[in-house]
Symmetry: C2
DNA sequence: GGACACATGTAATACGTTACATGATTTT
DNA sequence: AAAATCATGTAACGTATTACATGTGTCC
């Protein structure tokens, strides 16, 4: 009854709810096809996870009737739907609405320890990666526009917005490196 | 020799490099004081981690000389500095420069399973959380401007940029919900 | 000198990853 | 029919989390 799903569990519940009854393998494929692969969707993660959710009464599984393969089809129970709703709906904690994690920002916070030339190389490399990611995200948005699902479009726009914001920020960083105003941030010794 | 540090390990190396020799406790405090608490900085994470890094030869520890407490001071070895540089520097993989993870975007991708009223509530709640986060991020940036560290300022600007981008995106989502054009995305049954 | 926060850990637990194993289906 | 791929798992491993245990300075 009690117990809030983790991020990965919530996402699995969401996939099962959105797609209707499906196999663990189909869930894995969704994760692997995601343009922002936060989780690997590895077998070792998904198969035990869905069984966990069955034990908690959030999913039920029935044998694959009238079908070629032997596996199980998972579907939401009423309790599972209620858990999913609780995970999705207000109140949203600060870990959801607060500053999202960003490995690039993490790295930049330690740039002081690199020599100045390496700092510039870092920012150029980051901008290059950003350009590539922007292209991919734009392609994904075009793809999403072809389909009928408005949510997929909105998600793609969100990803694009995040990348554009990062681009602008990286350009600020680059300018800040070019202008030697910040009196040469020292590289502390080890 | 070989082996790339994980995100958390890289961050710990970075903190030790930036701050100079410090205790595991000081490292923990850095994580806990971070405005975007990606990691808890729990004792059970940090103390074993630094010992792991010592075993790998990336950190060295000496007893806290001339000091009140009994703990150990950790500092970077040359190998540790080289690992840190490798973690920071190019080439940056797509997991660093690609679309950053975002729990809000994850949730939104499943909004189709909620009734229309709950969808609107979700977006309003997300916008409210975003306003709060923006306020906190602006306060943090003001704080950062007081200090001498230009990197801290840039990191704070990055967080702010991410939140602003999310705000714009959420407003797009809200408009898209208001206009009932997208022919009422169905709520699939479980 | 008792209370309380600071500081340093350890133990149990949970979960995600990689790698492996195996059977079924499709392709060539 | 052999090879390749799809699909369903399991096992070992590493590591982050919460909770607990303990010692040590500080403050009334």
């Amino acid at each position: 009854m009690a117990g809030v799903p983790s991020e990965l569990e919530g996402a699995v519940l969401g996939i099962v709810a959105r797609e209707g009854p499906c196999t663990a393998y189909a869930v894995r494929k969704r994760f692997q096809a995601s343009p922002s692969p936060q989780w690997s969707g590895s077998a070792g993660a998904i198969y035990p996870l869905v069984e966990r959710l069955v034990e908690r009464g959030w999913l039920r599984s029935r044998a694959q009737t009238s079908d070629r393969r032997k596996g199980r089809l998972y579907s939401l129970t009423p309790a599972g739907r209620s858990r999913l709703t609780a995970w999705l709906a207000p109140p949203l904690g600060p870990e959801v609405t607060g500053v999202p994690p960003d490995p690039l920002r993490t790295r930049l916070s330690f740039l002081a320890v690199l020599p100045a030339a390496a700092r510039r190389a870092f920012v150029e490399e980051a901008l290059a990666g950003n350009r590539a990611a922007l292209q991919a995200a734009r392609a994904d948005l075009r793809e999403a526009r072809k389909g009928p699902d408005p949510w997929r479009r909105l998600v793609a726009r969100g990803a694009l917005a995040a990348l554009r914001a990062r681009k602008g920020w990286l350009e600020v960083v680059r300018r800040s490196l070019a202008r030697p105003k910040p009196k040469s941030p020292r590289t502390p010794k080890s």
